[in-house]
Amino acid sequence: MNRQVWRTEAGGSGIDRGEPRSFTFNQWRLEGYAGDTVASALMANGVRLVGRSFKYHRPRGVFGIGAEEPNALLQIGTGARREPNTRATVQELYQDLLAQTQNHWPSLQFDLGSLVNAAGALFPAGFYYKTFVTNPKRWLWYEKHIRRMAGLGPPPSEPDPDHYAHSNAHCDLLIAGAGPAGLAAALVAGNAGARVILADENPALGGQLLLAPQQVDGQPGQEWAAAAHARLAAMPNVRVLTRTTVSGVYEHGHFALVERCTDHLAEPAPHLPRQRFWTVRARDAVFATGAIERPIAFANNDRPGVLLLSAVRGYLERYGVLAGRTAVLFANNDSVYNTARELAAAGMRIEAVVDPRPFVSEAAAQAKADRLHVLSGHAVVGARGWRSVRAAEVAPIDANGKVKGVTSVLACDLIGVSGGWNPAVHLHAQSRGSLAFRVDLAAFVPQSAGAPYQSAGAAAGVYDLAGCLQQGYAAGAVATRALGFEQADEPLAPPVISDPVGNAPAFWGVQASRGARCFLDLQNDVTTKDVSLAHRENYVSVEHLKRYTTLGMGTDQGKTSNVAGLALMASKRRQPLPTVGTTTFRPPYTPFTFNAMAGGRWREVGHPVRRTAVHDWHAANGAVWTDAAGWARPMYYETEGQAPQQRIDEEVLAVRQTVGVVDVSTLGKLDIQGPDAPEFLDRVYVNRFSNLKVGRGRYGVMLREDGRVFDDGVTMRLGPDHFHMTTTTNHAGAVFQFLEYLLQVVWPELRVFVTPVTEQWFAAALSGPNARAMLADLAPEVDVSNEALPMMGMAEGIVGGVPARIFRLSFSGEIAYEINVDADYGLSLWNVILAAGVAHDLKVYGTEAMGTLRIEKGHFTHAEADGRVTLGDLGLDTMISPAKDCIGKRSLSLPDLVAPGRKQMVGLIAEEGSHIPVGAQLGLNDDLETPQESQGHVTSHAYSATLGRHIALALVRDGLARHGERLYAVSPVMGERAAVEVVAPCFYDPEGGRQRG
């Protein structure tokens, strides 16, 4: 049984009556046809009520026919694929589609939330500001109720199972919109040989040609459009993108496009991305984005059954759907008369055509002669009905739009409204084009002078078909000629048969009677009264108006409502509309999912993990990972049944008592060469490197230009003009960039090359009392004696069978060697080390143990040198060579850097059995309740298995002079406190005998 009782017997150029599609709407099983949208299919089944409004929970129906739709927002799909807030007017129907309404409780038909409607006076514009500004605590109570009452559909809670793609493209000319103007521009540019991308948000090209019966070149409009599509598709230099929205316009010819690849398919192939995000660089662009019809405000103009007039016409032409049985059409322009004839011919009863213009146009006179019931000089002042329109209240009006006579009631179930059109200037405005106000159209149009891109057709305020084609051809020709294509001849526009247009004078709404609501913004429930209230309360700037009333917010961004709201504000301010201006147009043009923007760039692809040569060994041996500058580094190695701290303690004690090995490949490494390399290092580091002997290394610190510590590390001299610099893991990139800055910008006369070689080397550090004996086993040909390879010495030779550089340096305070080999040999060396270690009680350790060892030795890291700290603050200013300048040195004598009261690095030791809270501040007492002045803060802390105590490094005001003092580490956040003693920052072997031995 065909229940599509609102479907016409024939017609509907966009549907295939041989291809029925059944779908589910809430609990109902309904039928439509291939080519339907969800909106047209619902209307064909006589469904009027499709949702409840955002704030007042008023019943709402389909209002428009495309991207402008404010009302018909549905949830499509189920589970993880449920997409809320989908416009039913653009969602294509497919077999077994599931559509559900949103924002109502308990049901669509009976929504308790609509009680808010009766209490509407309690929820005026600015409700939130007024209610919560004096007592924010009220919000806590109200929030959960308001959040349930107001709002759109909830997002799915499961991860998105679909995948998304990014594409990049270049073209000579991007054309946004494939209505008559866009098609014409594309044909000209394509014929001239330009690389063209033509994008349209709909599944078929043609724009308005598809939504009203017109003729081009002797053909029905949609056939001409289909032929143009076929011609363009045959051109190798033209790419046609359907279901693709030009969403954003950015600098230098950068455009963002969103293509919906599978949202219209019942069973998409798994390899297809759901959506594709296009980044297009275009040399030029034409915006042929059409115009959006605007409503007229009258009482209860939000009732289901009040639709835009062009939508009523479009549903008949495209989908063979009657939007009602008995219509009152209300329009201030001549498009209504042909529409009325078409609807009547399809079987709709036209109760009246209400034309508010104070004169009788030629088209109106003709319609009267054709026995249409035309009420010139009248307006619809109200709609009756609740879940559907039942009647229109019509009254005569004077030239100023004021009601001046008796209101009559015309029974009807449809009110089609047209207040003229607003060009879709969004892309033009995004491209920083300015807008001009045309009084004859009562609309903002693109200001072509100075605009970076042309607008054409209705987007430029040209509403007649012949004019759209002519302007499209012209825009295509102008663009291609400017791009240097020779044969861009502008063809003559073909003859057309279309509507008389006539200008639509400004007519935004009728005077409301007391208590009635005249809606401007259907999606956000903003009425004319809200705008008046905003004006009374002095929110008169358009940007304030938007935020105070929410006019023009939401998923439609006021496509049908903005200009009318601004016009009302302008009249309240007694200023012309252009003076009041518009809010800023920002991307995106229509909403799209974040995942399209992310594309494939998420998880590992979005944030690639840097792996050292022995990553897989770490992973197989229980590594618990941490991220350091993108590197995966083991914090410690897990074993079943052992607490993490126990593992870390074992790793620390191995280094102190036998020997440990740690993967230090992540340290930044720079190969520095050139005759001026020694001079360069002298200028970069605070200490001198030009007097370093070949084959020796030195610990260096570099400053920022403002005198704060930037980075540190050991640099070895490999030859007279050749150095191997190490940096911290975190700053490897920044140091390289800074050195290049100095060499290229500040001292281009220095002959130095810097090459980052971090990834080229694998490095393992052996440390502990057994390290030397173990190295001797590993490198029998290398003399590892203290005389041949002393602290800060280096050797080259074969280690574990592969060529290696051995640097003797120590971070742990024990005898230590850093073995560097080609990264490709890393795993081989690592396995050799582990095998040799068996005889020496070797243990592998991670960054936690390494951190504990360095805290015990009082070595700073970026936790201490946090960008505010000088070498003096770290107690290391004796490193600074007095005999030479270096980066940052000039700043060290600035008043703030020598003033007393600076935070300086100290050690902290906790009392036996107590620990130092994470993130603790240091105070003079342990009161957690009463605020006290901070004496400093804990920067790094650890349990020292070596000492059996909790220790920390801290920055304490004037800390160098406070050794021996008792302070309290307090963490009001954790509710923890501990008494600590301030000590020198080195807790272990302060003379350094162990590492030199």
């Binding site: 950015y250 600098e251 230098h252 010819g253 950068h254 980044t279 660089r281 920083r432 230009e705 403002d706 960039q737 290049e740 800055y741 290229q744 910008v745 500040v746 281009p748 300048d885 040195k889 000039r890 700043s891 004598s893 600035l894 008043p895």
Partner: protein
């Protein structure tokens, strides 16, 4: 996204580059500057509405620093050239 013409590599997406800072000259002899002159160099930058000379680094490319003349209002790029090099005029190009 800006389209930046690296003087060595040609036009590339902004994502390949990192912004360094305003193209200001480092004092040749910092020791001879007064505190006021030095802190002016360190901390004080013009924030022009319009033409701005700035240093960019082609991080995902040739590792070269260069001067970019960019209009901070329109993003129009007037030129890109090596630091301390004179921009090539239209006649010379």
């Amino acid at each position: 996204m800006l389209l930046i013409s690296c003087p060595w590599c040609g036009p590339r997406d902004e994502t390949e580059f990192v912004y360094g800072e305003a193209a200001v000259e480092r004092p040749a002899d910092p020791a001879s500057t007064t505190d006021a002159e030095w802190t002016d160099y360190l901390y004080f930058r013009d924030n022009p509405k319009g033409e701005h000379k700035e240093l960019w680094f082609h991080r995902s490319g040739c590792h070269r620093w260069f001067v970019l003349e960019r209009n901070t209002v329109t993003h129009a790029i007037a030129g890109a050239y090596p630091p301390k090099a004179r921009p090539v005029t239209e006649d010379e190009a």
